[in-house]
């Protein structure tokens, strides 16, 4: 089963601390949503409110069209997969997975059959008679997933479920989670602080900071067209170039920066339409810099830059550059494997107009 989730103007305060500040979010049925943000951003609080472990100070939670704001966890169509898995240590795996069914009054034979089915889904049917302490971390994680899915929830809430796994296993479990979500069709709401994990599994990512939603959209959109400086910075490495809008009409704007004047289409201003005189920050991802001998579309020349440092990363060279026009500023650029640049070299720098995103400068909260 699956259901849409509406979070309407939810605020949560703990004493004087505001953990969630008027959060509104609509999640479609069957979506894989990732709540992404640094620790303390409110993502786990939001998940606890969805699961019923906390009540919001204000606002409403609607799941499948029914108001769930003050419904206890046991009565919600949600189940939570906890960060520490929270398996029942004294029960065999089949009893762990069957626990929810037992609470729903299913007879033993039927519930064992169903529990075995879910253990098979996560590839642990052969271990059904074992106890949790005999399993590895990854296996426990799968049992926790099977247990949460066994009661056929409309919404599955995952609280940093991959946090305790090593990197390789984490990447593998991401793929499995995604595959299982596609198969069961349940709405997944997954909390993490790892932006790579978010991009690997999410249909849509919710970037959170200081109790507010900074950005919301498919991974590519959040990465390529971030709606705030925080979101741009959290989703990956980025260069911030401050500037001022010299002139703007409906379709394009001229931005004055230390790298020279840059003409940008209005579509590159995702947060607000450009106004002449406004301060603005341009965000440029390191991989979007071009050395202008490689032409693939209309390029904006950014002048020459001196290479002050360079390291080979396999897929690219990661270079620190000092623009000739603004020697006090360094940029990080990812240049192709073929670039073969040496320290001290002067290279011409350019960027495609479409790759630059202009955002209002930080107002103290980024």
């Amino acid at each position: 089963m699956t259901a849409p989730v509406s979070i309407e103007n939810v605020t949560k305060t703990f004493g004087g601390f505001t953990a969630l500040d008027n959060v509104t979010l609509d999640i479609r049925a069957g979506e894989f949503i990732v709540l992404l943000g640094p620790s303390g951003c409110g993502k786990t609080t939001l998940l606890s409110i969805l699961g019923g472990f906390l009540s919001p100070s204000a606002g409403r939670i609607v799941i499948g069209g029914r108001d769930m704001t003050y419904v206890p966890p046991a009565k919600r169509p949600t189940t939570t997969m906890f960060q520490d898995y929270a398996l029942f240590p004294h029960m065999r795996l089949v009893d762990n997975v069957g626990f929810g069914l037992r609470m729903r009054g299913l007879a033993k034979v039927e519930r064992n059959e169903k529990a075995l089915g879910f253990l098979e889904l996560v590839g642990l049917k052969a271990s059904a008679g074992k106890r949790p302490h005999e399993l590895s971390g990854g296996q426990r994680q799968r049992v926790a997933l099977a247990r949460a899915l066994a009661v056929d929830p409309d919404v599955l809430l995952l609280d940093e479920p991959l946090g305790a796994l090593d990197l390789k296993l984490r990447r593998q479990m991401q793929d499995e989670l995604k595959a299982i979500q596609k198969r069961v069709g349940t709405t997944f709401v997954h909390v993490t602080h790892d932006q790579e994990e978010a991009m690997a599994i999410a249909d849509r990512i919710v970037v959170m900071n200081q109790g507010r939603i900074e950005d919301f959209g498919p991974p590519s959109e959040v990465y390529m067209r971030p709606r705030s400086l925080f979101s741009a910075g959290f989703m990956g490495e980025v260069n911030f170039v401050p500037g001022r809008i010299r002139e703007a009409d409906g379709r394009s704007a001229q931005v004055e920066t230390s790298l020279g004047d840059i003409a940008l289409p209005a579509a590159n201003f995702p947060a607000a339409a450009p106004n002449a005189g406004d301060a603005i920050t341009l965000t440029i991802r390191p991989e979007h810099f071009r050395t202008s001998d490689r032409t693939d579309g209309p390029l904006i020349a950014l002048g020459d830059a001196r290479v002050v440092g360079s390291a080979f990363f396999g897929t690219h060279y990661r270079c620190h550059l000092e623009p000739q026009g603004a020697a006090d500023r360094t940029l990080v650029a990812h240049l192709p494997q073929s670039a073969d640049v040496g320290e001290g070299e002067i290279i011409p720098l350019a960027v495609r107009a479409a790759d630059v995103v202009a955002l209002p400068p930080a107002s103290g909260n980024a």
């Binding site: 699961g51 949600t78 939570t80 906890f82 929810g100 247990r147």
Partner: protein, 262 residues
Amino acid sequence: MRRLFLSSLSWTYLVGAYAFIFLPVVVLVLFSFQDGRLPVPPFNGFSKQWYEAVFADRKLMAALGNSLLVALASSIVACLLGFLAAYGLARYRLPASALQRGLLIAPMTVSYLIIALGLLAVLNALNVPLSLMTVGIGHVVINLPLCFAIIYASMGDHHINIERAARDLGANDFKVMVLVTAPMLMPSILAAFFLSVTFSWDEFIIAFLLSRFDVTLPVEIWSMLRSGLNPKTNAVGSLVFLVSVALLLILELFLFGRTRKQ
């Protein structure tokens, strides 16, 4: 030479310390096999006659049954109450919980004599006749703090999420407690239970002051002692000791051994 001296010194100390602790018990057990009428040196040779006498003694056997009954019943009650108190104080925010914890453990620091006198006064005032039941009540009073302390100490925060998960999957509070919390804490609950049984099994002062016609084994042994030393008292004392040791061994082998493995 110096090393030899030091090591022989430490060995002497070790043997001396254990002798100090166990010599009384060894003497007790040895003279329970005395072939003669007095449990004092010299040792005249082995005989099982005193054990036969013990098992043939109706009063002693009745007292043994009473002791078992009181020990088991009072320990079950003490564990149950201790578990509930620990669960409440560990899982809910209660008013003055530090004070409540202190009050629950406080009887440990009061001498058994004082507890027995206090209970005696209360029972008199309430017109409750003395019986095995009142002995059991006294033993619950002394063992509840122990059970509470052991079970409370084992209720870690890592259990909270497991209980949350059970609630999330549809269990009500009662089911969470019976199906999840209690089984998870079973090693410490059993440890509390067995310790409580041993304490109740050996306990004399409360059992003496709060019983009348039906008495427990230590009280019966005491009344035997009034008619003078007799290897039969050694024999029954050895049996009491044997049961206590057996309980502690069960505790050590099956509970502490198991928790270490996990």
